[in-house]
Symmetry: D2
Subunit: 454 residues, 4 copies
């Protein structure tokens, strides 16, 4: 039941992340809370040690009736009510005298929020591994193609060249930006929820803070100092950063799908098992991985908005805002991970065609170097005359359908200012890449400083 | 696999609607397209009749490996590729010579869009049944409580009274508004998708339109006249109206949760199996059904936004926008249905306390009738003196902590204008309900005219 | 003040629509409500005729202190409070005895909602005019280019040809779909709001419904039968359909920006005053109008979501949901109109290059006709042998870098089945357009039937 | 023109923040970029010092024709084109020979992005000042009311008491969480954009990085090392955190509006100039400030989603995603600031009624202390008998409509276990506040550690 991604979800969800949010995983996390709560209370002498042993023995997801839990939680409005009932029944079946110590002093939201946090930590590790792999592949690509000229395209129109390495470095920078934020958001999110019925831990008398500290320690979470039942920024922040990561992958996917157009043909997804391809349409290389990432990118902004919108929570426990978080967080994590997985596949296996990149630059017949020509002529001719000369040469080139290079020969002012070799050099992309290489080096250095190595 | 709602979804998804979007249902709808395509082509003499029989025999979801389909579609970017492959293999196993007639002239999107439409029609029927049941219950409630006074609350502050019947009629009107739109949206959506590889049906030569007409007829769908591969308003419109219905339910849920506050105590959800309630907190009546509806209301606007955002689709088939529709449409349908189911339960079983409604009006000590008093005095005293007299009486009432009624006795201008009985009448809510009853009657008449009977 | 579009809004807002939502327009609409309310009450003998005359004379936006109204409404939480105060003061200044008849029996929301509806009607007319103009231009384009072959592109990869006319017809169909819905939504929205303090019109005694009917008639609006203070689907439906229209324009803009790529070069925006263009980058034709539409498309889904989310309104007047509608509705209208204006400009002046369209088809070297070849050979050779022959020819064409046409000559099975002339015909796009023309005709017929003529 | 908030915006926009995004401010920021670019280039000897002087003299927003800029930018698709033209014309009018040095080596997006960053820094300072003021007021409130009992309400139903101080501390914690994130986001965002035509600074030859460093220093921004033209996380992160802050204010506003209900009556907004209030409805205290915050809260999630959605930007300059950022960022900043301003007003002036808080606890007749009673009795009676005794007592209390305290006297098991004084003590809220005080102290300590003092 838990390792199947529904067909309606198959283009939208990472299978690995789907497992992180499986029934077994969620119920397991919730039971871990109950187990460690009992152990912490026993450790502090608040309940019998034997009770903690009995509860720990029963607090395993194996054998729980997930279908029943799912049905009953829809009636109860929370997983915790049927789950605590089921756990108590299990304990009671073996150790009736200890059943009363289950869930002592805790409230439903303590269980479900802490389970959410534990699942989120897992999700964060999966996402982090994907980012690191993506960043590694992009770093390698950026460094390798540091000096490979490719048309830059602004507003989807060709400009002077940039380098394929700088394109990759840009994708890398997008990932690094969100990665830095994720680390901090996950650290903040990895925090116990424990406040009892209304957030005062009153049922534990004076012992509340000590139980909280012990419980947090056992669960490997931070003790937040105070419950955060209706202050949701911890989980919301992590969710919005997941979304940003998926959208950074979406930006890369958009670029790849544009580069893969037949008319552009500069790069292609690796293909690979089951990907795109058609025997009767052998020219077609469908950007299937990019489509997965772009599908996620369609959903992520709105999922993040749902999380943000759910922050307006009433008093000490919300009606609606709280309960919406689970499916949203799962969808964000699954979609972000799907986008990252797809771009890992692309970054690691992308094929590209340096000759075609060069040919596409050449197809512009030198027009994209007009700015360069002007800048070169200006010192010699003066700015205004240089501008006029370039404009006239451009007009001649367009009118006669010739290369801008050839149109220069008709103007004695230009031929007087530049030797034929200098004129030729004007149209060599390698000479007009500006600081592209420096920018690649800097982004690569940043990646290495942040622990990415390739 | 298909009848289980994941725990992460259990507060957010209707179980009945979950089944409408199950793997079996989706694959079944897609195979119905293939079956009726073959039959239509056979009917027109384009393929052998035996091929249609063989394809129809194989085109059943039973026995399909859903897990494999889910995995392969994530690689292929569409369900259609692995599904057509599996169907072809099934046909080939029994009738090798007919396998080549599977999916003839169709494209992947024809299959998946028509399947989406078929599933949407089912979803629409389920939603319509829920609306009708909700409208029926609300109509009954509105009529029965037509003249029951209850405090109106504007900006969450008490005003003069309205009636509980008019509140219910308001909820009913919200449902009717969206219901009218849904009928028209579903009619528009129930349309075949069939355009072949690029929307020209070129593989069918001149026969495209005739095959389309036959196929639409067999599937019980309208023939749109032309494919609508990247014009998505048909499905988007239905989705946004689903969302509006769920949000109309959310508005009712908000009101119910406010009325259920202990301090207000005018109405309560029916409770019932597994709902809220606590033996150690017997005063608590958790608004669990309202929470389900409000949870859906948190998600629906954003899901609708995702659908709308997906409308910007590239050329003849989109990269991302198209592929995102399935999970979004499913989530909208599941959340809307969950909200409607919850409010059906509430509307059919709501408990309310007319005495408490009256007591809450009385607790305002007549202050909410100040406007009425002024309107009554104005003809007698003149508008300005009347206004001054009321203002002074209000000040006396507040200062002395007495009822406004009692504060009137101190002012000879008022006692001269109104007899004690008239003064008493000023504070009878039944006399200041304006056209509440008329409005209830009109909304009820509309509901009946639109086919709701109670 | 009112005819300036802020620089932060200039890429996002239609200037004409900005004027529809200007301070003068909103305050004017609100004062029209007050004027016609007084006239209606005078007509029914509820207030002196002279009072209605005095109020009508004062109820003009000219001379109102808009800055003060804006400031005070932020304090009061509604425009109506300072506006009614200002209007009352104006009346009082000339006719003190009539000042008390201003706003009689109405509530703040009656004024602001009816003003919203009146402004929405204006907005709807502006949008409708834009749609009609856009539809007219697209109809003309679709008909004129009915048979012009152009590469179809699915998943942004080339497929067999479609026609430029069918592309335009697709854009037209998208507009027509939303246009039909808009008509019905605007008719539903053009409805009076009038319920008094709490929706019962109690202050008017029994006269409420008669005043409402008269007031609606005077304002040119429908009488809804009952107030709809917290049932917002009327305005929300119109807003979401505005958004759908803008997004239909966005789909067209996405296609245009893709066609304008230098490497594709099949179509271009008209340019025109101030549009794109650069003297030093003369090859560049920036898709500036498309950018305006795509900018709107970024915002519209979320604006629609905001409207939908605001539907959960508390009791008889909402805290937050109601008050958010004005800016959202304005933004939706401004963004949708900006998108439509931009696409009107494009549709009326688009330049395109039929030769380039053909050259792009040819650049595929016949590969996109492989499906056609197979379908033609299958009857002669049998399906399986035909498939094998085509696959082998494709492999030869790719391996040798020759046209698929030439690769056919090497296979005696093919040369036996097809004459050289038949083989040539396989690669004529005009012969493989399927029902593209029929589909154009049908969409054109629909447009004409719906009142579009070109 | 720049200090007026449109009426359609008045409930949604902070007036102070509106000024931060005024035409003067935006154009001023863009001109500051041009001024400091020229100065930096002069400093490095790349342009004549006199040119930098001439450009700096002209680069002032005063006297620019904002209406013309607004119109022309809608045609050009960017503010930079008409602005650079206007600036160049100004320089040329006085110093024709220097006009050619305007905007040297820069691209339109360098100007508009750096202007966006400069405006964002201003916006961040305004928001930060509001947060600090809000945090200060909440800290004071939390400390002062540390031990004031108030009913906790979970799922909008009463539970055992918490303290008003802990409620305030919760609001404070929500603000502090987002404040910490904002600091880091603003630091990341305060970064120069400078990449030239396509992000390589090719027009500056080898000098690009040096100019960038000098320019960043002059503008008081960080040098990012490489341009970030289509990697938008810097600005998106700041925007989403603005939204989180506004939503933290919205959570507080929801609570306040609930506490202000007449039937609850525990707290109220301060009122103040122009706020709510009605002479004929003197009992009404409209939550006007809360409404402003909740209005913002309706819009903020969707605005954040728009920003996130705009992250998928094409190649080296986007079509639509980029251009949408300005209005979205302005709306987020204005709405967040409006929400914070409103809650500052409330936090600094909130009135509350400790007696009413206590009376509301008492109105529950001891039922909310049932858990406490059970916990007290369990050690003496055993858990199961204690549970049964409490359940029976609750049933008696409900049946007889008496206080739970009185229902205890009927059960000898209970009277045997607890003295009358102990029984009385069970129902003293002060004795069942658990760790509320500790939690307040910890949140207060955190606030102080983070620089908030009260």
């Amino acid at each position: 039941m838990t390792d199947h991604v529904a067909i309606s979800d198959a283009l939208s969800a990472s299978r690995a992340m789907n497992a992180v949010f499986s029934d077994m995983a969620i119920v397991g996390a919730a039971l871990k809370f109950e187990r460690d709560l009992a152990r912490s209370q026993a450790e502090l002498g608040l309940i019998p040690a034997a009770a903690a042993v009995a509860i720990a023995a029963a607090a395993r997801p194996e054998g729980m009736d997930m279908a029943a839990l799912s049905r009953e939680m829809q009636r109860a409005g929370t997983l915790a009510i049927p789950l605590v009932k089921a756990l108590t029944a299990r304990v009671a079946a073996k150790d009736p005298e200890h059943a009363g110590f289950v869930h002592l002093g805790a409230t439903s939201q303590d269980v479900s929020d802490t389970a959410l946090v534990l699942v989120l930590v897992e999700a964060g590790q999966l996402i982090t591994a994907l980012i690191d792999r993506l960043a590694t592949a992009l770093l390698r690509l950026a460094v390798a193609e540091r000096d490979t000229p490719i048309l830059a395209r602004t507003l989807m129109q060709p400009g002077p060249p940039t380098t394929f390495g700088l394109k990759a470095a840009g994708w890398l920078a997008g990932v690094l930006d969100a990665r830095a934020r994720l680390k901090s958001d996950l650290a903040t999110a990895a925090t116990l929820q424990f406040g009892g019925a209304v957030g005062t831990l009153a049922a534990l008398g004076e012992n509340g803070p000590r139980v909280a500290a012990a419980l947090a320690r056992r669960l490997g979470l931070a003790d937040p100092g105070a419950p955060w039942h209706t202050q949701r920024s911890r989980v919301v922040a992590a969710g919005t950063t997941f979304a940003m990561l998926g959208l950074a992958a979406g930006k890369m996917a958009r670029d790849v799908s544009l580069l893969m157009q037949y008319e552009v043909g500069e790069a292609a997804e690796p293909g690979g098992a089951g990907r795109g391809g058609s025997s009767t349409m052998p020219h077609k290389r469908n950007p299937t991985a990019s489509i997965i990432a772009l599908t996620a990118a369609q959903r992520l902004p709105h999922l993040a908005a749902s999380l943000l919108g759910a922050m307006v929570q009433e008093h000490e426990r919300a009606t609606g805002g709280l309960q919406a978080e689970w499916p949203i967080m799962r969808d964000i994590a699954e979609a972000s991970a799907a986008a990252l997985e797809a771009m890992v596949e692309v970054a690691e296996g992308i094929t590209f065609d340096r000759a075609r990149m060069r040919a596409n630059i050449d197809s512009l017949r030198g027009l994209v170097f007009a700015e360069r020509l002007f800048l070169t002529l200006a010192p010699a001719l003066g700015r205004a005359p240089a501008y006029a000369a370039v404009e006239a040469a451009l007009a001649r080139a367009l009118k006669n359908g010739v290369d801008l290079r050839d149109a220069l020969d008709d103007d004695p002012a230009i031929t007087g200012a530049l030797t034929p070799a200098e004129r030729d050099a004007m149209f060599d992309p390698m000479g007009y890449l500006g600081s592209a290489g420096v920018f690649v080096d800097r982004i690569a250095a940043r990646a290495r400083a942040e622990g990415i190595s390739a």
